[in-house]
């Protein structure tokens, strides 16, 4: 299905640019052209298709659906809906307050906020195209599990005391349920709007990610990673998570790097740990959440994620190598 992108890359690398096959530069350029065209094509297709379905879903609806459910239902629901509900990171704060105000427990709310950036449909589809469905499904399952366990941990330690006091005092007005899209035209308009908005936001991350991936692919020798990042090296997973914290991109932008690392023989658990860390622990998001969470809870939140990603890394390395 994706041969056309390989052919396009063959043609532009060897015919248009006249590079010699098998050289470092040719390999890097080939990787770059193939991945950029493939990912851009998939992005447009997937965002549009998902947009048609999610035109009915809003955070206000999620709040209504999750409120008042038992924990056995609300946790899985929160992470599942967190993965598909569209909201921009600047809405994290009103969303957080709105959930708590509706009586949704702190743990469930945090589970929603953890799962949301980690799993997104675009990342999953592009990951599947790059490295196969099996790994993509594993990534989703791991992400949902981390969301639930993270939320449960916050609930277990009763961390409500580390939510800023004013949050508990806010009373919400009658929620305006936005009229969802009803006609086909509205849905298409919404989906197309999503393509323009999301594509406009992330194309640069994709280019940077593919650029780094291409450099790794073409110029970094295989032995380098085998030496430092093999499954035998127990420090590789924690290091991958640490490296991922200051790097901020969305999950989609990291995928070319993931692909290049895997092709260089870095084990899957280490790579998934890096991907989760880049996507879910981001400085801008933490600064936004600081408005509602005290520093202790932010630190605990990062700590829980850190441990969870390392566990995921070791687990996958142990199971799949």
């Amino acid at each position: 299905m994706f041969e056309i992108f390989t052919k396009l890359a063959d043609w532009s690398t060897y015919s248009v640019l006249g590079l010699t096959p098998k050289t470092h530069l040719a390999e890097a350029v080939h990787f770059f052209v193939e991945d950029v065209t493939k990912i851009f094509f998939l992005l447009v297709l997937v965002i549009f298709a998902i947009g048609l379905f999610r035109s009915m879903l809003t955070p206000e609806r999620v709040r209504k659906v999750v409120a008042g459910r038992s924990r056995a239902v609300s946790y899985p629901m929160a992470v599942g809906l967190g993965a598909v509900t569209p909201f921009c990171s600047c809405s994290s704060v009103p969303l957080f307050i709105g959930f708590l105000e509706a009586g949704i427990p702190l743990g469930v709310t945090m589970a929603f906020l953890i799962a949301s950036p980690m799993i997104n449909e675009v990342a999953v589809v592009v990951l599947a195209a790059a490295v196969g469905w099996k790994i993509a499904v594993l990534y989703v399952v791991a992400g949902l599990t981390v969301g639930i366990l993270g939320g449960l941990a916050i609930e277990f330690f009763k961390l409500e005391k580390w939510v800023e006091e004013y949050v508990w005092k806010i009373r919400m007005g009658e929620t305006v349920l936005q009229q969802g899209a009803t006609t086909l035209k509205q849905r298409v308009d919404y989906a197309w709007g999503q393509v323009k908005e999301i594509f406009g936001r992330i194309w640069i991350y994709v280019l940077i990610g593919v650029g780094i991936g291409a450099a790794l692919h073409g110029f970094v020798p295989q032995e380098f990673f085998l030496k430092y990042a093999s499954a035998d090296n127990l420090l590789a997973v924690p290091s991958a998570v640490l490296v991922g914290i200051p790097l901020y991109s969305n999950a989609t932008g990291v995928i070319p790097i993931v692909e290049a690392l895997l092709s260089k023989g870095v084990p899957i658990g280490t790579v998934l740990a890096l991907m989760m860390s880049v996507a879910a622990i981001s400085l801008p998001e933490m600064i936004i959440l600081r408005k509602v969470l005290k520093p202790q809870l932010i630190a605990t939140f990062i700590g829980i994620l850190f441990v969870a990603f390392i566990t995921v890394g070791y687990l996958f390395n142990a199971l799949l190598t």
């Binding site: 921009c88 600047c90 809405s91 009103p94 969303l95 007005g173 709007g193 908005e197 408005k291």
Partner: protein, 78 residues
């Protein structure tokens, strides 16, 4: 005169929304009042959870995204 409030914690989308409304009103030559509401309690008081939100004469008309030029024009002319 119509009074617009743009609800949002001060993110880029909220600023864009306010700018779009001001620009459209200027285009149409209609005077409006516009203010940005960044206080979380006030935003939640309108029942808005996803920002940017738009309030026209104290009624919420939009939330969760940058509004389309067409809806902005409709609000100003309404």
């Amino acid at each position: 005169m119509k009074n617009f409030k743009v609800l949002g914690s001060g993110c880029k989308k909220c600023a864009t929304t306010a700018d779009l409304i001001s620009a459209k009103a200027a285009d149409l030559g209609i005077d409006i009042e516009i203010e940005k509401v960044t206080d979380m309690g006030a935003i939640m008081g309108y029942g808005v959870m996803s920002t940017p939100g738009v309030v026209l004469n104290e009624a919420v008309v939009h939330s969760g995204s940058i509004p389309t030029p067409k809806s902005i024009e409709d609000w100003i002319k309404s």
